[in-house]
């Protein structure tokens, strides 16, 4: 319940118009659009995890994340929507595709694109989804966004709320990201040092100019760039 109440605080400043004036039986156009986009997003997400074609999965992920951005837009959170597109569609999926193309991206089905843990994964996914849905529904049951009033999710409102009420989580997150950054650098430097010692430990191979010794400095160079 505490989670739900914290989540409810998030929208404490949002206009909470009386719920009685809204009903589920007479949806507005925006609500219908929200539902339809949600269905498309959900379908794309299902295809993402079930398709046997690796690159198709990544491209369906684009549809899923883009659908989420549209949902944010419909909830008047414009800033969050564009950041969603910028980070997830523009960078994360590109990185994912880059990784796929660099390693293995066959055209057509990959027979090994299935995991033996599919039932465990399904259980975890359903449990996580149920927990999230329960928390969100419990927290926002009577909250309606006033679409005609001032935008509740404009950049100004988001920024003010982020840096007035939620500074501590924000800073904690940035420390976390910094730690990840430092960790990545440390890991890549270790690999470089390992390559250097490996090259030094085979001086005979180096003097013979075998293909292996040529590979040593080369991989070291790639590690730095």
């Amino acid at each position: 319940m505490t989670l739900a109440t914290t989540a409810a605080h998030l929208t404490a400043h949002a206009p909470t118009a009386a719920a009685e004036t809204h009903g589920f039986l007479s949806p507005t156009g925006v609500e219908i659009a929200f539902l339809l986009v949600g269905l498309v997003t959900f379908g794309a997400a299902i295809v993402t995890v079930t398709t046997r074609q690796l690159v198709h999965a990544a491209l369906w992920l684009v549809v899923t994340l883009g659908g989420l951005a549209v949902e944010y837009l419909l909830l008047t959170a414009e800033f969050i929507a564009w950041v969603q597109v910028l980070i997830y569609v523009g960078s994360v999926v590109v990185l994912l595709l880059f990784g796929l193309m660099l390693t293995r991206a066959p055209i057509g089905r990959s027979p090994d694109a299935d995991s033996g843990n599919r039932w465990a994964a399904l259980t975890v996914a359903v449990a996580a989804a149920a927990a999230l849905v329960w928390v969100v529904v419990d927290a926002f049951r009577t909250t309606w966004i006033d679409l005609d009033g001032p935008a509740a999710g404009s950049t100004e409102a988001t920024g003010a709320s982020l840096f007035q009420n939620w500074v501590l989580p924000f800073e904690a997150l940035s420390v976390l990201l910094l730690a990840a950054l430092v960790g990545a650098i440390v890991l890549s430097r270790k690999a470089k040092a390992g390559a250097a010692t490996a090259a030094e430990s085979t001086p005979a191979a180096r003097s013979e100019k075998s293909p292996r010794s040529e590979k040593g400095p080369r991989s070291e160079k790639e590690g730095t760039s």
Binding site: F79, W82, L86, V89, G90, L97, F98, M101, A105, S225
Partner: protein
């Protein structure tokens, strides 16, 4: 009803700009490149200095057969040109050319984020094309495109953030309203970094490693023919329009000019955009192609530190003048 008419008219104007400006820049490129290399360029099509050359090219492209390689992933192969082209159309909507409410396709609250986010999506088109072609040169081109985008997206974002900090808003018309002439020297490093990173994101020479014709034929676009190939070319030139327009409105003050700001602001915007577009062409003729490792090095060791320094400078000046 009036609203519908208004929106339709705006969309129509943006669409016309989207179709004509890239052609004008393309034709200028033909002529400017030719004269810089001591040639004449197209002279016959249309009669007067070959003005109709690109229209003739378009007719030629439309007549060509649309070939899809047998081994290709058909649907993604055919979808890729649209994914590459449409984002630039959307970005054009958000670029204001004049101070009035009527001089922008659509005022967007988080405009800077919108344009950068949508521009980043365009690169997915090249990636899809490179992968779906079932051709090793195309795949290499796609890989290089992705590596280049990942390297140059960061400095672009950071410098745009610097301008947003200076103006105290992320809305593009808001940034222009706050613009003062002394922002020009203040943000000059950011402007250069933004422009260079944008050139790299468009894969224009000297950053055209992903389409390096002497090594990998034409990168991700190798297998394309006819109209779909023309769409990729159009995306490149629309990208030039968008990049020059964005640099103009974010760093060069858009409609602000030394004189004649009333009513003639749009002339300043167009003039600055045209000068930048000329610069893009000039750079293509002047500089040799950067190697892949030089590309990455330029971004990570020069542009990113410079943009961080620009942000620091912006922050310091902003605090001092308050």
């Amino acid at each position: 009803m009036n609203d519908v008419l208004d929106v339709t008219l705006r969309l129509l104007i943006v669409f016309v700009v989207f179709l004509t400006f890239p052609l004008i820049i393309g034709q200028t490129e033909h002529k400017v490149m030719a004269h810089m290399q001591g040639r004449l360029g197209p002279m016959y099509a249309g009669g007067f200095h070959g003005w109709a050359q690109l229209i003739a090219d378009g007719v030629k492209f439309a007549q060509k057969e649309d070939v899809v390689p047998a081994g290709a992933d058909r649907r993604i192969f055919q979808l890729a040109p649209a994914v590459a082209l449409l984002p630039y159309l959307l970005v054009l909507l958000a670029i204001p050319i004049g101070p009035d409410e009527g001089a922008v396709g659509q005022v967007i609250d988080a405009g800077v984020f919108f344009v950068l986010a949508v521009m980043g999506v365009g690169v997915l088109g090249s990636l899809m094309a490179g992968w779906a072609s079932a051709n090793k040169f195309s795949l290499l081109g796609g890989l290089r495109t992705a590596a280049q985008l990942l390297a140059y997206e960061l400095p672009m974002l950071l410098t745009a953030a610097s301008v947003a900090m200076a103006a105290g808003t992320v809305s593009i018309p808001g940034i222009l309203d706050a613009f003062e002439w002394w922002w020009l020297p203040w943000q000059i490093v950011g402007a250069i970094v933004f422009f260079v990173a944008g050139l790299a994101e468009l894969q224009r020479p000297p950053f055209d490693m992903p389409v390096a014709d002497s090594e990998i034929i034409f990168g991700a676009y190798t297998e394309y023919t006819g109209l779909r190939f023309a769409l990729f070319l159009l995306a490149e030139y629309a990208g030039i329009v968008v990049l020059c327009g964005l640099t103009t409105v974010l760093f060069l003050g858009g409609w602000h000019g030394p004189w004649g700001a009333d009513g003639l602001g749009w002339v300043w915007t167009l003039l600055k955009t045209a000068v930048l577009a000329f610069l893009v062409i000039w750079l293509r003729v002047t500089y040799p192609r950067l190697r892949e490792d030089q590309l990455q090095k330029l971004s990570w060791t020069l542009l990113v530190p410079l943009s961080l320094a620009q942000i620091a400078l912006t922050g310091i000046v902003k605090v001092v003048i308050q």
